[in-house]
Symmetry: C2
Subunit: 356 residues, 2 copies
């Protein structure tokens, strides 16, 4: 592949947990990166990041930094995205944004790669990457929607601290060390100690008593699945796990389905792996999903509290930094390249991804 057919890719928030994973996933998946531009706040600019065997200096994320960028992967928080995504898009970049800033904007597609990549067609420069808790659930719900219809879904989450960011990982680590040393556990990132605890508070509280995280699962699932009336309830809980979110899912379907049929169905979904052999203690596990790009589903069983074989109980686990964030963002970029839906500048640069 010639340098001309390669893309200029910017990663905004490149020093963060998700940003660093984005850089790693781009390299692992051999995405056709020509120039890789790592950007961050002025505070982090000047630092260096090792990526694909090179050491790259981090530049400041300002509008001018997006000149000649084809694809900009944002993971620097909602405020940065609100400010800079339009500036990047105005310069011809296609923005894939991991914050919540644009997700519910009707003009912005919200895409899980294996669920609704067709929504990429109507993007106008900004594409939203869903929240990690929603991400791993959507392909499972899509499969059930298409096969037997969705009536109601209850999801309770067991979320890792890396979903909050590097400072939360450090806080858990510090509390663990304090525990071993017999010292008090200081909490600053979270309102209470996360070590040896379960915190039913992720993101801010809304007027309806749900947290914003819980409501994201509701609203984003509806948008991604094209089911604006989907009935879904969620309790989102942070637990002392470093990487991977786990979810207990209870689905009421419109038509009957057996656990065997559900397992066979899930096995057909790209990027989904069925792990369901209780006799051998095999089921999705946070520690085993960490570092993997797939969504793992298991503990599939008929829920007898729903009549007529229309209930399923499931356990769904995925690496929140990868499929829950970085991997899906790169998959969106791949889909754009594959369908030639990158915007103006990259089209000017000739066919993207064509052999040299």
């Amino acid at each position: 592949m010639s340098q001309r057919s390669r893309l200029t890719v910017a990663v905004v928030g490149a020093t963060g947990v998700v940003g660093r994973t984005m850089v790693q996933v781009l390299a692992e998946r051999d995405f056709p990166v020509g120039e890789l531009r790592l950007l961050a706040s002025g505070r982090s600019a000047g630092r260096t990041v090792s990526a694909a065997g090179r050491t790259i200096e981090v530049g400041e994320a300002v509008p001018e930094a997006f000149e000649d960028v084809d694809i900009a992967l944002f993971s620097a928080g909602g405020d940065v995205s609100k400010d800079l995504a339009p500036a990047a898009a105005a310069r011809g970049a296609t923005v894939i944004d991991n914050s919540s800033a644009w997700r519910m904007d009707p003009a912005v597609p919200l895409v899980v790669s294996q669920v609704n990549a067709d929504d990429l067609e109507w993007h106008e420069g900004i594409i939203a990457n869903p929240n990690c808790s929603t991400m791993q659930l959507a392909p499972i719900l899509m499969a059930l929607r298409d096969a037997v219809g969705l009536d109601r879904v209850v999801v309770d989450t067991y979320q890792s601290v890396s979903g909050t960011g590097a400072e939360a990982v450090a806080e858990l680590e510090g509390q663990i060390q304090a525990h071993v040393a017999g010292a008090p556990k200081a909490a600053a990132v979270y309102p209470h100690p996360i070590a040896f605890n379960a915190l039913p508070e992720i993101d801010v509280f809304l007027d309806n008593g749900y947290t914003k995280e819980e409501w994201k699962v509701v609203a984003e699932s509806r948008k991604i699945l094209h089911l604006p009336e989907l009935r879904l309830s969620c309790t989102a809980v942070r637990i002392p796990v470093f990487v991977s979110h786990s979810e207990a899912v209870h689905v009421q379907t419109t038509r009957p389905i057996t656990p065997d049929a559900a397992r066979a169905l899930f096995a057909t979904v790209p990027g989904v792996v069925v792990q369901d052999d209780p006799a051998r203690h095999e089921y999705p596990l946070a520690t085993k999903a960490a570092g993997r790009d797939e969504i793992f589903v298991g503990r599939v069983r008929q829920d007898p509290s729903v009549d007529g074989e229309r209930g399923l109980a499931l356990w769904v686990v995925s690496d929140n930094l990868r499929k829950g964030a970085a991997t899906n963002a790169v998959e969106i970029a791949e889909a754009l390249v594959g369908r030639d839906w990158i915007r103006a500048r990259s089209r000017r640069a000739g066919p993207v991804g064509a052999p040299a």
Copy 2:
């Protein structure tokens, strides 16, 4: 109170986590103990346990050890209870058994003190103490059953390792120390490391795909609440917490109820404390519930996925060693004393709990 009006109390499994808590709760609540007989397997017999300022030697749990015992609190596993509870009852003791051995026996009352103490009336020498996950849920469900009726309940649990026993507490502690030391994490009590993980396997798997722990919540709730057809689904998950179980609960009620009305209702239930001030980050927490005898409920909100204000989402936390096991067992003993329902021998000894 004279020595004669006091009771001879045996604690079986006195060296275990729950057994030690039983000894502690008996002392804290000033239960009218005359002689305290601590019993355990032959392996643990001869050890000493400190209780109420005294050091007591642990005797071997054999049938003869229950001679002259009024109340025997068992927490030594199902096999010990199956063997020895009938032997103790045959000698006139009233057994309050914390194992799962007798819970579903139609001739054995299964009692949560503030829910169905009236069931104690038909005991024939053995009374079962419910599973910890069921225990903390039952008073909440009772209140809703009585006020607005129960249609369907979904419960996902976040359970602490102390529910497994002292060896599981040591295993988590060891894995945490290994993490800090950079050493590998050995798992023996659980099939996978529990540190920084969420294990969706508690107790053995049943043919229907549920674990026995999950099915206990279903079957025991039905028996305690006198609702043999109650529709309930549960996923039971072990997380790296030392003490207290947390539960995300989603209730469909028969008639409408608002969150305000639900909070007011819960506040009337003995032993239940409403903690629900999200603006101040106040909600039930495992670390804060540890060492307390109450059941804490919060995050009360309308579940909009159920029509007609018939849905509630809740977060329920309680110390699994106390209300989930030891405290309820002692509360049952108190209820028996208060109602003069201790069996033959104690009646022979004169009015129980009467002033000297």
